[in-house]
């Protein structure tokens, strides 16, 4: 029993080590020649722009719901006027990065794992190697850079759409004029908040792409294995995002001393 647990634990640390190694290789491939600009742009279009609509919708709906809940909650204490600032700060610092990243983990992370996993079980990864090229450089680096570039932008866009949703509910439900709402948002939302969202999103993008690529490269057992890999990636990267969010929040709050 103890031996079984010890084997499991060593397997876990081995896996973490292999993921860290893949991250190192991906960073090296991303920062050295040859660059596959065409592939990076293609991935930005597919992974980034392809996720813009759903990110915007999620941000907008969260803005609507949060404003409604905070508005009614604070109304009891006469604090409705604080709604714009609370919604803006919580959206930018936490909800937009977390929800957009979880969405991208589900949509893009699973896609990367499925694509690389399918290529693995059909010998296409071996073919890339046999043709004297690096699968990390050809497949992982363009996706890594595309998600690293897109996720922070999607996060800020999602937060912006949330603020638009908040404005609509503030006006229609609580009679807060748009000018007042915008003034309060600009007064309470600092550059730090936007920077915090961007840093978090960038960090989460690394978790998503590297876990997805790692699992893709280690996919076995044919199409069933591909299905298992996508599930594993969504679950693992979601847990990784949520756990690291706590530590990132703590570090960022300490750093910026807000």
């Amino acid at each position: 029993m103890i031996q079984k647990e010890a084997t499991k634990a060593s397997g876990f640390f081995l896996e973490v080590g292999q993921i860290a190694r893949l991250l190192g290789k991906t960073l090296a491939a991303s920062l050295s020649r040859p660059f596959y600009f065409h592939a990076i742009v293609e991935q930005i279009v597919v992974l980034g722009i392809g996720s813009a609509l759903i990110s915007g919708v999620i941000g907008f709906v969260i803005g609507l719901v949060m404003t409604l809940q905070f508005g009614h909650g604070l109304n009891e204490f006469g604090g409705t006027l604080y709604v714009p600032s609370i919604v803006a700060v919580s959206l930018m610092r936490e909800l937009a990065p977390i929800l957009t990243s979880l969405l991208i983990a589900g949509r893009v992370g699973s896609g990367i794992a499925a694509e690389i996993g399918s290529m693995n079980v059909t010998s296409q990864i071996d073919a890339i190697r046999a043709l004297g090229t690096s699968p990390v450089r050809v497949l992982v680096a363009p996706r890594f850079l595309a998600v690293l570039f897109s996720l922070p932008l999607l996060t800020v866009f999602s937060a912006f759409m949330g603020l638009v949703g908040g404005l609509i509910i503030s006006l229609t439900e609580f009679g807060i004029p748009p000018g007042f709402y915008i003034n309060k948002v600009l007064e309470y939302l600092h550059f730090y908040d936007v920077l915090s969202a961007i840093i978090k999103a960038a960090f989460f993008s690394v978790i998503i792409t590297i876990t997805a690529a790692y699992k893709g490269f280690n996919t076995t057992k044919g199409t069933k294995g591909v299905g298992d890999a996508t599930t594993w990636v969504v679950v693992s990267s979601s847990i990784g995002i949520l756990i690291s969010d706590f530590f990132l929040s703590k570090i960022l709050l300490t750093f910026f001393a807000i």
Partner: protein, 246 residues
């Protein structure tokens, strides 16, 4: 004859099971070597080890006198442009059309412009007898055609050695003849090869020499005409098994 490739005392195991237990052989320049053995004998494993797709446990693999078994993955890229690997399934990139599949190694390893790449691809497609397939996706091709495009991709960089991993497996006689014809063209271009197969007739037609492996060791190494005279029990077993499955 000068040896282009040498395998010395190679050991390889998988999950504790020993596949190769001291494999020794050499491949001469311009030579076509048939690698035979029953299923699970480790023929494909050996091919993969030669270009470093799989690591070996011990032993040496030398290409043009230089050890390649201890090279890092990045250092093997150059070797792999000189030793091509033709996968059993073709292993074409399914998100690329035929032109893009064939252009891939040329773009990665040459400075040719698009016009020159196009010319090279047309030549390669002519060799494999599929000149009208440039814009087709792998999914639009039959299994035999995929294998032939895979062969075209293998020869497009003019390698010094080609490792054929069962290129005739699962093909009808007409397609087997097509593949054998492509292999003979490569032979005429002085490309050495190792041909892993169960197809005895194709091996006899293409190969200058035959190697039979069984139970982790080389059991026969000689001319195709001498093969049936071997008294090695593993070789006799192999022929008995092949006779049954034929």
């Amino acid at each position: 004859m000068e040896n282009i490739l040498q395998i010395k005392n190679l050991y390889k195991s998988f999950d504790g099971s020993m596949i190769h237990q001291g494999i020794d052989f050499a491949l001469g320049a311009n030579e076509s070597l048939g690698l035979l053995g029953s299923s699970g004998a480790g023929k494909s494993v050996l091919l993969r080890a030669i270009i470093g797709l799989d690591n070996i446990d011990s032993g040496e693999i030398l290409f043009r006198g230089e050890r390649v078994d201890n090279l890092k993955e990045e250092d093997l890229y150059k070797v792999r442009t000189r030793i091509a690997y033709a996968f059993q399934s073709g292993a074409l990139f399914d998100s690329m059309n035929v032109f893009e599949n064939l252009a891939y190694p040329l773009k990665a390893h040459t400075r040719l412009d698009w016009q020159a790449i196009d010319k090279k691809i047309e030549e390669a497609l002519d060799i494999v007898g599929l000149p009208e397939t440039k814009s087709l996706m792998p999914a639009d091709l039959s299994g035999g055609m995929q294998k032939r495009i895979g062969l075209a991709r293998s020869i497009i960089l003019n390698p010094e050695v080609i490792l054929y991993d069962e290129p005739t497996a699962g093909l009808d006689p007409k397609n087997v003849a097509n593949v054998v014809a492509i292999m003979k063209i490569a032979q005429k271009r002085n490309i050495a090869s190792i041909f892993v197969t169960h197809d005895m007739a194709a091996a006899m037609e293409v190969c200058d020499r035959i190697l039979i492996i069984g139970k982790g060791k080389v059991r026969f190494n000689g001319a195709p005409s001498e093969m049936k005279e071997s008294k090695d029990p593993h070789v006799l077993d192999f022929f008995a098994m092949e006779g049954k499955s034929a």
